[in-house]
């Protein structure tokens, strides 16, 4: 370690941190560097990357996904536009794990993720939000655009052939799609995700390998409902 670095830095065991990250699969020429500034940059890059991405697939993780979705929802409300959300679940994935083991299951997840990356648009954000469940945010698009983009991704995954070593697996995925209403006043990422999940389960119930969709409008209270609700006297509580 060179002498011209600040004193406190001498006590930092950067090499050990580099070894840990390298063993965790963060291969990079900088991980074997002896230069502390290169080592530190490698550690910072690795940790930033790990905090945002899912380790298995390289897609964004669930925490980051919610942050992006909330940002895109806010943007769509501001611009009276639409933001789409797809939820994708691999059908009968438990059978894959039970029959071939988790290492094959993990590789199937990786190949589905790779296929999703290939078929989505550059501005879309794909995330792994659960074991075999994925989500794709389709920002700044009309409902027609969202449907077109989602249909293309769905088609590329149905059926989907994954070749893992010498095992050939033919899989399907069920997809739920929702999009925000341009007239909506508020919706949160988790409500939107629940709605997309519901559509995905609908796709599962209707035979798997399918896509179900709807826009989020029915969740808002209509003017008819409002006037029906207000058609009651509130005065009586004061008068008994």
């Amino acid at each position: 370690m060179s002498e011209d670095h600040p004193r406190d830095w001498k006590n930092l065991d950067l090499t050990a941190a580099c070894r840990i990250l390298e063993n965790a699969g963060r291969r990079d020429p900088a991980s074997v560097s002896k230069d502390p500034s290169e080592q530190l940059q490698y550690i910072i890059n690795s940790l930033c990357d790990l905090s945002v991405h899912d380790g298995l697939t390289g897609l964004v993780n669930a925490t980051f996904f919610h942050a992006v979705l909330n940002r895109e929802i806010e943007r769509s409300m501001r611009t009276a536009g639409t933001c789409g959300l797809m939820v994708i679940d691999i059908d009968h994935f438990k059978n894959v794990n039970d029959t071939y083991g988790h290492s094959v299951g993990d590789k199937v997840i990786q190949s589905v993720a790779a296929q999703m990356k290939k078929s989505m648009r550059s501005m879309d954000t794909a995330a792994r939000i659960g074991g075999e469940e994925f989500a794709i945010i389709l920002p700044d698009c009309t409902p027609e655009d969202a449907l077109k983009a989602a249909t293309r991704i769905h088609a590329s995954l149905n059926p989907f052939t994954a070749t893992i070593d010498d095992i050939v697996l033919k899989l399907t995925t069920s997809v739920g799609l929702v999009w925000t209403d341009p007239n909506a006043t508020s919706i949160t990422s988790s409500v939107m995700l629940s709605l997309a999940d519901q559509e995905m389960y609908m796709a599962k119930r209707s035979g798997r390998g399918r896509m179900c969709y709807r826009h989020t409008e029915p969740i808002f209270v209509s003017s008819h409902e409002k006037s029906a609700l207000m058609n009651i006297s509130f005065e009586e509580r004061l008068n008994g």
Partner: protein, 267 residues
């Protein structure tokens, strides 16, 4: 879910609008249920603006947020008061309004560690339909909506029901009408509000013939100065005004919940 472990019945107390008396009802309900011999756990689920400790006249040593951060175990956070146990939350923490993995994992592990000891868990959730409120609603077996007979409150309650119906598939709602008119007429006013909500839902929600939403009135609490009196003294109604109309109404509400806990079919 498929586990055989004994599980406490979970109630989420929600309100579309704030300031309708949710926390006061939670605290008094828990205390009354414990006098019936029920083992009750109350979780302050209003993680942004917790206030149950204030109503109970307790100064928490630590809060559920400290257990999320691993600074305290959930056992250290747990407090006993008036025959029931209580998990306090911190107030004034904006992070409590954001649904993070740390929050969901923290709450789920706290419930898993504790719930075998109780007959029922009450979540005193925040107002509105934010992510954290919806998360607690998703954990609950029963949704109990607290409503006052005011136009804005009725509107917010209806919207809450609609959101829960669409996002969580919730079809059964318990209603507690608070400040439901002066004492003798309060039960009628409660019935009237519940019937009105039911009617608007039945005629406006989709697929009500096959999959109806049901609103059940669990209790009506009359307008009663005794409530303010007890809150100002940071005591419970049973302690300050054991014979007041509101106290008696809360006892009837507790009896309703007690019967539901006794008759429940699920493990």
């Amino acid at each position: 879910m498929g586990s055989e472990r004994k599980r406490a019945r979970r109630y989420a107390l929600l309100s579309g609008k704030g300031g309708v008396g949710k926390s006061i009802i939670t605290a008094n309900l828990a205390a009354t249920l414990s006098t019936f011999g029920r083992r009750i756990l109350v979780i302050d689920a209003d993680l942004g603006l917790a206030s149950l400790d204030v109503i109970l006249g307790i100064t928490p040593v630590s809060t559920i947020q400290e257990s999320f951060r691993g600074e305290q175990s959930i056992e250290q956070v747990l407090q006993s008061t008036r025959g029931f146990d209580f998990v306090p939350a911190a107030s004034g923490l904006p992070e409590g309004t954001v649904l993070t993995e740390r929050l969901t994992a923290g709450v789920e592990s706290a419930i898993a560690a504790l719930e075998e000891r109780y007959d029922a868990i009450l979540f005193d959730a925040g107002a509105g339909i934010g992510d954290v409120v919806m998360f607690f609603a998703g954990l609950a077996d029963e949704i109990m909506l607290v409503v006052t007979p005011e136009p804005t409150c009725l509107m917010d309650t209806y919207a809450t029901i609609k959101v829960l119906y669409h996002t969580h598939g919730t079809r059964d709602f318990l209603l507690v009408v608070n400040q439901s008119g002066p004492s003798p007429a309060s039960a009628d006013a409660g019935e009237r509000i519940a019937a009105h909500l039911q009617e608007v839902i039945s005629s406006h929600f989709e697929s009500q013939e096959t999959d109806p939403v049901r609103i059940r009135l669990a209790g009506s609490i009359p307008v009663d100065t005794a409530v303010k009196h007890s809150v100002m003294r940071r005591r419970l109604l049973g302690e300050t005004n054991p014979d007041a109309p509101a106290t008696r109404a809360l006892t009837r509400l507790a009896a309703f919940i007690d019967a539901a806990i006794r008759n429940r079919k699920t493990p």
